[in-house]
């Protein structure tokens, strides 16, 4: 699928050397990458299908430097693309040919651990796992745990509102952030929230989280830490059909149990995982559920019993309960390795990320199966079953002419299907450039115009990460009222002011 990005500004590119010199004046030469070969390292993020070498990359170390860079770019009309660890699966950090890539990797320090208020103040370039590492010796952890947690940064988590397998019970990034320091596109530094709950005024904290780097650059983050549950046990349950597994998920939740994690895999994913790391998954089932219960020992024992009963009533073919930490981790090993496992049975795979109302799962899986036949491409499904977030992995071979395009078209059809059954385009990977042109499947012109007006309130010149999220770039002046319905007023019979 040819991706149309904003037309590069030739005047900006022609003036590159002067900009590089000015950036060096802010962060010193060591903080600027301008050499073509070195810039190659930044040409894509986790969505490697799209590549673009940035005009220049800059690696600031202080919020004042970020502010000066933003002021400089604002003054010069230069676009800026922020980047954390570059693990985005939606192309959120895809550079621009005429843009500065603002690399936040030097913001890599945890600033303060406030044990008594149970929060961590950190720079945005610290990894998600780094936050847990900083507090786990005292029995705490940072709850959202995206699969990429070893590499992805908390700044990027803010941009994408990252989730993870535990978010059904413990929430997404947005539910765990208390405060932010943000540099706005014009270089202004603001603070929202702090160590208290519910910041005053409009919820800028909530708006910034998940805004995909389009509204501001996060330079400091305060997050909550949680006490690690004393016990966790997992159930590994095999079902003859995905319907039976889906019914079990509904019954568990309907009974009032909120598991710490609840994951489903279909037959191709189970077989790939078993071949890859031998977790001991049953191979004669169509769907496998991993249900993890965490909490105090009494609670876990009680709820594991409840889930066992429910699973049997749904016709489970096999059921194992972990009896040790090693066994629990073994249950998870296959699921956590699902992506590399699928990577081993196929030269390439394309990971999708729709969310659906859970009861639609059997329908959606059936239709994905039909699409799979139509496109002649295999697919394996892993599913955050508790919250309806589906990750179909489309298998293809990029060396076969036309297969990437077919995979992308197949992926687009899956996401449209998710919307059609009442779900959404993306649960946790973000829109970025990947799903940008599908936004119309979920939102109409007015919905999108309102979102873009919010962007304009932060960035009237559209210089911060343009070309992402929205299918069409509008200048802020164009975003007036969308519909006048031909000058007619609806409901002429209504009493008027």
């Amino acid at each position: 699928m040819p991706l149309k990005m904003p037309e590069p500004d030739r005047a900006v590119i022609a003036d590159r050397d002067r900009l590089v010199a000015e950036l060096e004046a802010i962060v010193s030469a060591a903080g600027v990458v301008a050499e073509a070969r070195a810039l190659k390292a930044f040409e894509s993020d986790g969505l490697t299908a799209y590549r673009q070498t940035p005009m220049v990359a800059v690696l600031p170390e202080t919020v004042q430097q970020v502010s000066e860079i933003m002021k400089l770019c604002h003054r010069r009309g230069v676009k800026v693309v922020p980047r954390g660890a570059g693990t985005s699966l939606s192309g959120g950090a895809l550079p621009l040919a005429d843009g500065v890539l603002l690399v936040m990797s030097r913001f890599n320090r945890v600033l303060e651990i406030d044990w008594d208020n149970r929060c961590i103040v950190t720079q945005p370039g610290v990894t998600n796992l780094g936050l847990t590492k900083a507090v786990e010796h005292c029995g705490f952890y940072y709850a959202p745990d995206p699969s990429s947690q070893i590499a992805c940064t908390i700044g990027g988590n803010i941009a994408e509102n990252s989730g993870g397998v535990h978010c059904l019970k413990y929430g997404l990034t947005t539910n765990n952030v208390l405060g932010l320091q943000v540099v706005l596109p014009d270089g202004e530094i603001i603070r929202v929230g702090g160590r208290h709950l519910d910041a005053e005024g409009y919820d800028l904290l909530g708006l910034m989280t998940g805004s995909e780097g389009l509204l501001g650059v996060v330079t400091e983050v305060t997050v909550r830490m949680l006490r690690k549950p004393p016990t966790a046990r997992a159930l590994l349950i095999g079902f003859p059909t995905s319907e039976a597994a889906g019914e079990c998920v509904a019954k568990v939740i309907g009974s009032g149990v909120i598991p710490g994690g609840m994951e489903m895999m279909d037959r191709p994913a189970i077989h790939a995982a078993e071949a890859f790391c031998h977790p001991g998954y049953p191979l004669d089932v169509e769907a496998l559920l991993i249900v993890e219960i965490d909490g105090t020992e009494a609670e876990v024992d009680h709820l594991v019993g409840e889930v066992e009963k429910l699973a049997k009533s749904c016709g489970a073919l096999s059921l194992r309960v972990s009896n040790s930490e090693a066994e629990r981790l073994a249950f998870w090993a296959g699921r956590k390795a699902a992506f590399p496992a699928v990577g081993r049975i196929s030269p390439d795979y394309y990971c999708m990320d729709g969310t659906i109302p859970r009861h639609q799962l059997p329908t959606v899986l059936r239709r994905i199966g039909e699409l799979s036949e139509h496109y002649g491409l295999k697919v394996a499904n892993v599913f955050h079953a508790g919250d309806g977030n589906l990750h179909p992995l489309i298998l293809y071979d990029a060396n076969q002419p036309g297969e990437l395009e077919r995979a992308e078209e197949f992926g687009g059809d899956i996401l449209k299907l998710c919307v059609e059954v009442g779900g959404v385009l993306t649960g946790e990977h973000g829109v970025g450039v990947e799903k940008r042109d599908l936004m119309g499947a979920m939102f109409n012109e007015i919905d999108l115009a309102q979102q873009q007006r919010v962007k304009c309130a932060f960035d009237p010149q559209s210089r911060l990460n343009p070309g992402k999220v929205f299918p069409e770039l509008h200048s802020c002046a164009e975003l007036g009222r969308v519909h006048v319905s031909g000058g007619r007023t609806a409901f002429p019979d209504l009493p008027r002011f």
């Binding site: 978010c167 709950l197 509904a250 149990v257 009442g422 779900g423 309102q450």
Partner: protein, 406 residues
Amino acid sequence: MTESHRPETPEEVGALVREAAERKTPIEVLGHGSKRAFGRPLKLEITLDLSRLSGIRLYEPNELVMTAGAGTPLAEIAAALAQNRQELAFEPADLGPLYGGEADRGSIGGVFACNLSGPRRFKAGAARDHLLGFRGVSGWGESFKSGGRVVKNVTGYDLCKLMCGAFGTLAVMTEMSFKVLPRAETTRTLLLLGEDDDPALARLRRAAASANEVSGLAHLPAAVAKRSALGDVAGAGGAVTALRLEGPAPSVVARMASLRAEVAGAGPTAELSDDDSRALWREVRDASYFAGRDAALWRISLTATAAAPALAGLAAKLAGDTSWFYDWAGGLVWLEIAGAAQAETVRAAVAKAGGHATLIRAPLTERAVTAVFEPQAKPVAALSRRIKESFDPGHILNPGRMYAGL
């Protein structure tokens, strides 16, 4: 002369707002009006009453989701949820009685527009954490939507967060989808009697950091405890510190034992079981100790460790009788002052502690001249104004309800 419109459909809301936008006539947006005295006073001639946009449109207990019209009574929603042993986990506060109104009169739209959350907020999140999607009409007169009906959704900006706590100044929400959760099978509350603010709050913070999954952490100093309707609390003859446990019965029993071991040596204790426990946390949720009175009332969100010293300092400085209690292990303080609200004194202390103060109740004349919501730093205020104008360029929706010019 006021003019009240009670539209029955979202389309009618759209038409009314469009007309108001064209005529540049500001309107007061209301759910059921139970919290109308919350915020800066509006002197508008036209009200848009959403009470007829009522009804539960979708409720799927197994999917943990409900969709309802903005004017649906909260009581109707709570009753439907209770039938399936579910609830709104953020415990929406019923502030009506604080303003002299009846209990249980609010709408679901009002709950989200005011982002009202109760004692479980520190654990389960705020109202804003439970709104999944909405349909509404912006000040442009345009009908639009954001979010969806699923929990995990990062498609586009999270405008749900912006709507929560915007007090109807950005858009008129007509319908909303929100997360619902199982209601705990059992609840029990441990009461510690006679502790002073500082040691009591330190104990609550330790409990919050423990593995016992405590879901309510409040401290009622003696002056407030004696106003409780519960004999165990009012009759304690001093301060009461409350710790709530919820969950399946075997788990609650085990955690209560563990919690008791943790507070051993704290002095006399008492325990409330299901009904009494629920009644106590309703009082805490609604700050009902201050209902039926008309003294100035502040709701203060602050850094938990700073709460007790801040209040001790304030009590010494403020003119007039004061009484207060703490929720969220000290992260939330309700402070009543007999006499003037004394915003400068209160806000200076809160700023030092890290947080913000909202003047929940004060006579109209005082709310007209006092900043009801915490004043914001200049660049944040300017940004908020640009956001307001991106939704409501003509400033026709509840203009000035939160801040002048917003």
